[in-house]
């Protein structure tokens, strides 16, 4: 299909200013007199504040405000920025008498200089009653320490919250298709293994940042590094018991989110300090606070049962999951459910499917949203198990996947049974090039020559591994996006979207969609995202929703604008609309006698058309019963050093079906970034705690993310694909890249040296230990 703007790799529309380092981010935009906010944080993993004395600290010259749990409204909320009613337990108070992890907030301190605030923090006297913390999530349920003993916490719909047992939610007896136990018993080959995935940090370049001020009407304005300004406004309104009309949230440029900014973070602190003092304030987290006191990925444990006949037809798949949500239940249920809903449909030939489990509280840094969102964790477990099954069947793991994976035109009963937080919606795969992705990736990595391994030196083995993945494109009939297109004099347009570009490039691709739909060159658009006073509603940047959900809203808005322009032409020329064309920004009558440029039209509309003067403005909203999944096949070639257990990634091949890539270059770098973050989780990153629950990996020296020397080559290809439900055939692509590296690398390690690692991360220590064990055998 031929497009004018869509499917073209234009540069990002915000690149110029960002590359020049011009002020764009939250901290760049703060009032220079803003009070500095810092928190006194808990040194204990679990304790109760017996007493807290702020007198000495308050006497300091520059200190304006110190807030403890006695000074803030006690309203149970959830900080998870997701749909409403929220599918997360409301188990958080702005400040509480309990502290539930090391780094939890004890008090909020605001002052006129950072120095004075730091000094004040040291002068606050706190008497803690320290409890035994719950640090091991496998021992959390029924632990004598109850992390949330408070009576007020609740959920907005039943999700199995049982705080007395440290259970945030549970999900059983629902996602069951067929008779799993019976089918497994009848299988020629069956396996049952336990897998562990660890927590991961987002490590966005920009720390979590928030600033607040009151405007001259005493309305609270918050500028925040948020992925979801509308949810932020709603949650702040709830927490501070303020009508939403009194709150404005502005999202400037964001230096990366990856899900880490999908929760409310320091916005609550800047909002409350500004409301209490009437002064502008700002709270910019340090890297240590980002590590210790925001959110990580959910740690998970999977028990996988998988069964097939001897010909390699998979008949049964059972997933039993235990997830660790840390001190609060943000995204507890939904990440859990995504672990099932984005994995089970991939093997849709199986007749018996089951997915159950629980999410528990622990005294660790809360877990929250993170790119991949449950799917990546389950991908490690299931895609490792698929390889283990292939080995038992003595089948090529690529063949096993080709044989059993979902194809275009097919469906899975899972779509109907489970969505995010509740029931899902049935859908057929109108675009699914997964089989192409698998076979193309196999060719690109040269699987047939390299599988399972090649010994290239006495201590060096090269091997290949694979995994496949699916994600979603927003949440069906829950995610809603909208757009406004406004014509200005001089003939350019404002494109107003609530969708939040957090570095992803969504401003660029949405402008491309508008340009395509309206048939106006791209430089005639000025996009604004996002400001709750100015831009229309959007759920925000999460769940791979923007391209698909907001993209369609932008297309509708732009098409509506095109209609209005043609109607205007008909009116001023007194001819039928059908006699008018609008192409490349020029309005023409079909007989060629009349033409008018956008510039002339807009001048007329706003200055000279007399009674025909009118503001042209069009909007579009979109939600969809569909969430067409992007698919991907990941193939890795590693070189394993048998003397050190170290692996090097020689090449990572990602072949992705994301429908039409609106901007192929941006789609590719979304995948590249995702793959790299997945490799990081697989090999380098690990959130480690001391015995007392203090985070040891709370800086970038101890928490290693991969750097340029760690991956030799990334090969990303986009499959030719078109999804009729998406804007110009597009599906979303934000998350899919991250899912496969965990299992693909684990499988490659097995193929190289026969060491099966079922507990992440895949460290040289585990590999070498496995090699030594195999030698002893």
């Amino acid at each position: 299909m031929n497009f004018k703007t869509v499917k073209h790799s234009i540069p990002k529309v915000d690149a110029n200013g960002l590359m020049r380092g011009l002020p764009a981010y939250t901290d760049d935009l703060t009032d220079e007199n803003a009070l500095i906010i810092k928190c006194l944080r808990s040194p204990h993993a679990f304790a109760k504040i017996r007493s807290i004395n702020t007198e000495k600290a308050l006497q300091l010259n520059e200190i304006e405000c110190i807030l403890t749990h006695k000074d803030v409204p006690r309203i149970p909320i959830t900080r998870a920025g997701q749909g409403y009613p929220e599918p997360s337990p409301k188990d958080y108070f702005i400040l509480d008498e309990f502290v539930r992890y090391v780094g939890d907030e004890v008090a909020i301190i605001a002052g006129r200089s950072e120095k004075s605030v730091q000094k004040a923090i040291k002068l606050i006297e706190v008497d803690f009653e320290v409890f035994e913390p719950v640090l091991d999530f496998e021992k959390a349920e029924n632990h004598p320490s109850i992390i949330h003993p408070e009576k007020e916490i609740y959920t907005m719909f039943p999700m199995g919250l049982d705080a007395q047992k440290n259970v945030a939610c549970s999900y059983t007896n629902t996602m069951i298709v067929g008779d799993v136990n019976k089918t497994l018993a009848e299988c020629d080959v069956a396996l049952n293994h336990r897998y562990y995935t660890h927590a991961q940090q987002h490590v966005a370049m920009e720390p979590h940042s928030s600033t607040a001020y009151l405007d001259y009407q005493q309305r609270l304005t918050i500028i925040s590094s948020t992925q979801n300004p509308y949810h932020t406004r709603r949650i702040i309104g709830e927490a501070l018991q303020k009508p939403l009309r009194d709150i404005r949230v502005i999202k400037p440029r964001i230096g990366g989110g990856f899900g880490g900014k999908q929760q409310i973070h320091n916005d609550l602190f800047s909002a409350i300090v500004t409301l209490k003092t009437g002064k502008p304030s700002k709270c910019i987290y340090t890297r240590k606070e980002v590590f210790e006191s925001t959110f990580t990925r959910h740690e998970m444990r999977f028990d996988i049962q998988l069964g097939a006949d001897k010909n390699g037809n998979i008949h049964a798949l059972d997933i039993q999951l235990l997830s660790n949500t840390g001190a609060h239940g943000e995204h507890a249920l939904t990440t859990f459910m995504v672990a099932g809903s984005k994995l089970l449909p991939m093997y849709n030939k199986a007749t018996a499917l089951r997915f159950e489990g629980k999410v528990v509280y622990t005294n660790r840094c809360p877990a929250g949203a993170y790119r991949g969102y449950g799917a990546i964790q389950a991908n490690f477990a299931v895609e490792s198990a698929i390889d283990e099954l292939a080995h038992k069947l003595q089948m090529d793991p690529v063949e096993l996947r080709l044989k059993n994976s979902i194809k275009e035109g097919e469906t899975s009963p899972v779509f109907k049974v489970m969505g995010e937080g509740g029931e899902g919606i049935e859908q057929k795969m109108e675009s699914c090039k997964l089989d192409y992705c698998i076979s193309r990736g196999r060719d690109l990595i040269k699987w047939k020559q390299k599988f399972p391994f090649l010994k290239i030196a006495p201590n060096k083995i090269r091997s290949v591994g694979t995994a496949i993945a699916m994600q979603g494109s927003g949440i069906p009939l829950l995610d809603m996006g909208s757009a406004i297109v406004k014509l200005n004099d001089d003939g350019f347009f404002n494109l107003l979207v609530g969708a939040t570009d957090i570095g992803t490039g969504s401003d660029t691709i949405l402008t491309q969609i508008a340009s395509e739909a309206l048939d106006v060159p791209i430089d005639r658009f000025v996009i604004t995202s996002s400001d709750t006073d100015v831009t229309p509603f959007d759920v925000g940047a999460y769940a791979s929703s923007t391209t698909f959900v907001t993209g369609n809203a932008v297309r509708k808005a732009a098409e509506n604008m095109k209609k209005k322009i043609i109607q205007t032409g008909a009116k001023i020329w007194q001819i039928d609309e059908k006699q008018i064309t609008f192409q490349n920004g020029i309005l023409k009558s079909k007989d060629g006698l009349k033409t008018i440029t956008l510039k002339e039209l807009s001048e007329g509309l706003y200055y000279s058309f007399a009674e025909d003067m009118e503001q042209l403005i069009a909007s579009g909203s979109n939600t969809s019963p569909k969430s067409p999944p992007p698919f991907m096949a990941g193939f890795v070639e590693i070189e394993l050093d048998t003397e050190t257990g170290k692996i090097d990634i020689l090449d990572y091949v990602a072949v992705v079906d994301c429908g039409t890539p609106i901007n192929p270059n941006l789609a590719k770098i979304q995948v590249e970034g995702g793959v790299l973050q997945g490799i990081g989780m697989a090999m380098f990153e690990d959130v480690k705690y001391s015995k007392n629950g203090r985070m040891l990996t709370n800086n970038m020296m101890n928490y290693k993310i991969p750097n340029r020397c760690d991956v030799k080559k990334l090969t990303v290809e986009l499959a030719e694909s078109y999804d009729p439900a998406g804007p110009y055939g597009a599906k979303s692509v934000g998350e899919i890249g991250i899912d496969t590296p965990l299992a693909a690398i684990a499988n490659a390690i097995y193929n190289a040296v026969g060491v099966r690692i079922r507990t992440l991360p895949l460290t040289p220590e585990k590999i070498l230990n496995g090699i030594l064990k195999n030698e002893k055998r």
């Binding site: 006495p458 050190t644 380098f684 020296m701 290693k704 991969p706 020397c709 040289p764 230990n769």
Partner: protein, 279 residues
């Protein structure tokens, strides 16, 4: 804490003499962030990175002299080193990151005294010496004797490392080995580092030097191992003997970067690799 930036060496020694607090030298400073908590309040800090007299890389009396404030970028770009000590130079290619290479100094790396530092195993096998200076004195000591314990050095009050001297022919006609194992390929702290030099004639070990980092309280030569290996034929080396000697000479620990067993096994494997034996 008072921070001094002396104009020249003379000025530095005057300031040192007049200081009545504990004196610290600061060169490069890329590791200072980690140590600010441990530095007592009442100290004087003397910044020396800008003193070019300490930064030269030159040739003196058959040695390459590397000034203590030479940065790792200086070292990586030095023609002298490329010509005479290419193994030394190439081994440091993946030291830290380019940003840190531009600032971090070789003297700082040594005197920082981290058991995991990347440079010391190299200097140990290359028979490096240190030129130390104080106000009225200067002396040259073998690098081998510089470390006395964890972060303890053969340095007197107000004495500093002026230069590192490496014999110009230290690498000549020798087989060289350097491998650092870290969590990732660059900008990483070593879990274990092994450096070695050997000369084998008629299948017999004629010359051998092995130094390891990250497995003792400071980087050191494995002298007993060298004594065991010298004059042996490669095929006379016994796995159990090798293991036994190394087990005594290194004392790896488990920490959050790695574990004791891994460090031991990898140390052994790398030494075997260096020796070219495959049991």
């Amino acid at each position: 804490m008072i921070f001094y930036r002396p104009n020249n060496l003379k000025n530095l020694f005057e300031l040192l003499e007049n200081s009545n607090a504990t004196n610290y030298f600061l060169a490069g400073g890329t590791d200072i962030n980690l140590q600010t908590k441990n530095i007592p309040k009442n100290v004087n800090i003397f910044y020396i990175s800008h003193l070019n007299v300490l930064r030269n890389i030159t040739e003196i009396n058959g040695h390459i002299s590397i000034g203590s404030t030479a940065t790792f970028s200086d070292i990586l770009h030095s023609d002298y080193l490329a010509k005479h000590l290419p193994f030394f130079q190439n081994s440091l290619k993946f030291f830290a990151s380019p940003i840190i290479q531009n600032l971090a100094t070789i003297g700082g790396n040594i005197v920082n005294g981290s058991p995991t530092n990347d440079v010391s195993p190299l200097l140990l096998i290359l028979d490096a010496k240190l030129e130390l200076i104080s106000k009225n004195n200067s002396r040259i000591i073998p690098f081998n004797s510089f470390y006395r314990g964890y972060k303890e050095f053969d340095l007197q009050k107000n004495e500093l490392v002026k230069a590192i001297l490496i014999p110009k022919n230290a690498e000549n006609n020798l087989e060289t080995f350097y491998q650092k194992v870290g969590a990732r390929n660059s900008l990483t702290i070593s879990k274990i580092t092994v450096a070695g030099l050997k000369f084998i004639e008629n299948n017999r070990i004629k010359k051998i030097k092995i130094a390891v980092g990250s497995v003792n309280e400071y980087p050191r030569r494995l002298v007993n191992l060298e004594n065991y290996l010298i004059t042996k034929r490669i095929n006379e080396i016994k796995k159990d003997e090798l293991t036994k000697i190394i087990a005594v000479e290194i004392t790896p620990i488990s920490d959050f970067r790695s574990d004791q067993n891994y460090r031991f096994v990898v140390c052994l494997n790398l030494i075997e690799k260096f020796l070219g034996i495959n049991f």
